[in-house]
Amino acid sequence: MDERDAAVVAKAREGDREAFRALVDRHSRYVFSLAHRMTGNAQDAEDVVQEAWLKAHKQLSRFEARADFRTWLHRITVNCSIDLIRGRRHREDAHDPADLEQGPLSERGAEAQPTPERMAASTQISDRVNEALGLLTALERAAFTLRHVEGMSIEEVGEKLGMKTSATKHSIFRAVKKMRNALEPFVQA
């Protein structure tokens, strides 16, 4: 573990509020970026950050001192993101099972489409990729991120998201196709 973290985590485990605050200061931006990658929008990412820190605080006594704090926090954040996505999925299923397949979680509608103007204005690869990710539905994004970035197997992704393996596979296929359509112009040989 990062030496600075080790000392601060040790203090935080003893109930030192300021030490815990130092951890929050040090890692919140990382947690936010991770949560944003999973959820696809800032508001959900902020909710995940709060939940992740609450869980971390509650479970700090169980944290293995030799482990890496950020890796531990990363796992908590991914799980909190999944909880949020699954919870929303169940709630939205009650209204319309296809809801989550209709567009990005909080950027649905024409605004989310990368218009030629927006594409032309954006010169940064990161912007292009994030725009492309913005085209995925919540489930596609979660499945793709867990497979592509977190390196989980498709079967594990399905378990995490409460989906059958075949449905998970198709979510990932759709996600990759969308990414490919959006980004292929920028990787032409």
């Binding site: 030496e3 600075r4 080790a6 000392a7 601060v8 203090k11 109930g15 030192d16 509020r17 300021e18 030490a19 815990f20 605050r21 130092a22 929050v24 200061d25 919140s28 931006r29 936010f32 970026s33 991770l34 944003h36 990658r37 800032a42 990412a45 902020e46 950050v49 709060q50 820190w53 609450l54 605080h57 690869i125 990161s126 292009r128 990729v129 994030n130 492309a132 990710l133 497979r147 592509h148 970035v149 197997s153 498709i154 596979k169 990932i172 296929f173 990759v176 196709k177 990414m179 490919r180 980004l183 292929e184 920028f186 990787v187 040989a189």
Partner: protein, 268 residues
């Protein structure tokens, strides 16, 4: 899925995706490998897919807005449960209370008066002695000024001098620990009275003080350099100086205003 069987049938996109992730069914693997080795079109499609997916990995993460950590803590702290007691309880419990001595007492008196600017007379002077006509403004402004001066000295030594030695850094850590609790009280007082400019500087100062106080005893010179660079990058010393100077001006104004007031008769 298409592409099964003969060499003339190209691999489907789904097959290429599973291949990329190493999730092709074991039974299908030899057929895929053979086809990819021999089919230029599928090799090109495979390469194109690999480039797209690699591009995704190179994207910089979305960054949180400036000051995000502060907001996180503000929302989080009330939900954390009381394993460290109230701010007041913690303040009184701190061993540095004794070390902070007069300054903390002054802040406390002024804080109890409930105002960061304007107020009724209290009875403690900046040197810790009782003075009947010192206003809480004057007391508080002097106390804040004193605290900022002490913080300035510590940060200046840290940034400009060689404190890479463990002993020297341990000394700075002790001073930073002393300053944290007082800083928090002043910051809260400033925030409650709507003095956002002072509260912001004190918030940044507190973060740096905490970082110094919580650093491991065997902090490396690289980590120290990082810390110094952050202090410099934030212009923290300059901003602390500005606020300290403003507090001195306020103290001077308070004193002049106090001198113009008629002497109150002693309370009998």
């Amino acid at each position: 899925m298409g592409g099964r069987g003969t060499m003339t049938q190209h691999l489907s996109e789904e097959e290429l995706i599973l291949h990329y992730y190493g999730e092709t069914d074991r039974a299908d693997q030899p057929r895929l490998d053979t086809h990819l080795a021999e089919c230029g079109a599928c090799q090109a499609a495979n390469e194109q897919l690999r480039r797209v997916l690699t591009l995704v990995e190179t994207a910089a993460p979305v960054e949180a807005r400036p000051g995000f950590e502060r907001d996180v803590w503000a929302r989080l702290e009330p939900q954390l449960g009381g394993n460290t007691g109230s701010a007041w309880a913690r303040f009184f419990w701190f061993p540095q209370w004794a070390l902070a001595g007069g300054v903390a007492a002054l802040v406390l008196v002024a804080f109890m008066a409930g105002r960061f600017s304007g107020g009724v007379p209290a009875g403690v002077a900046p040197d810790g002695g009782a003075v009947a006509d010192a206003s809480p403004d004057r007391v508080l402004h002097a106390a804040v000024g004193d605290h900022l001066d002490r913080s300035q000295v510590m940060l200046t030594e840290l940034v400009n001098n060689d404190v890479d030695q463990a002993d020297a850094f341990a000394g700075e850590q002790e001073r930073a620990s002393d300053l944290v609790a007082i800083n928090r009280l002043i910051r809260q007082s400033a925030a409650q009275s709507g003095d956002a400019g002072v509260a912001d500087v004190l918030e940044d100062l507190e973060r740096v003080l905490l970082e110094i106080a919580n650093a491991p005893a065997d902090v490396t010179s690289n980590e120290l350099s990082d810390l110094k660079a952050r202090i410099t990058a934030q212009d923290l010393l300059f901003r602390v100086r500005v606020i300290a100077s403003e507090m001195r001006n306020r103290t001077r104004t308070d004193r002049e205003a106090g001198d113009r007031l008629p002497q109150r008769p002693p309370i009998s």
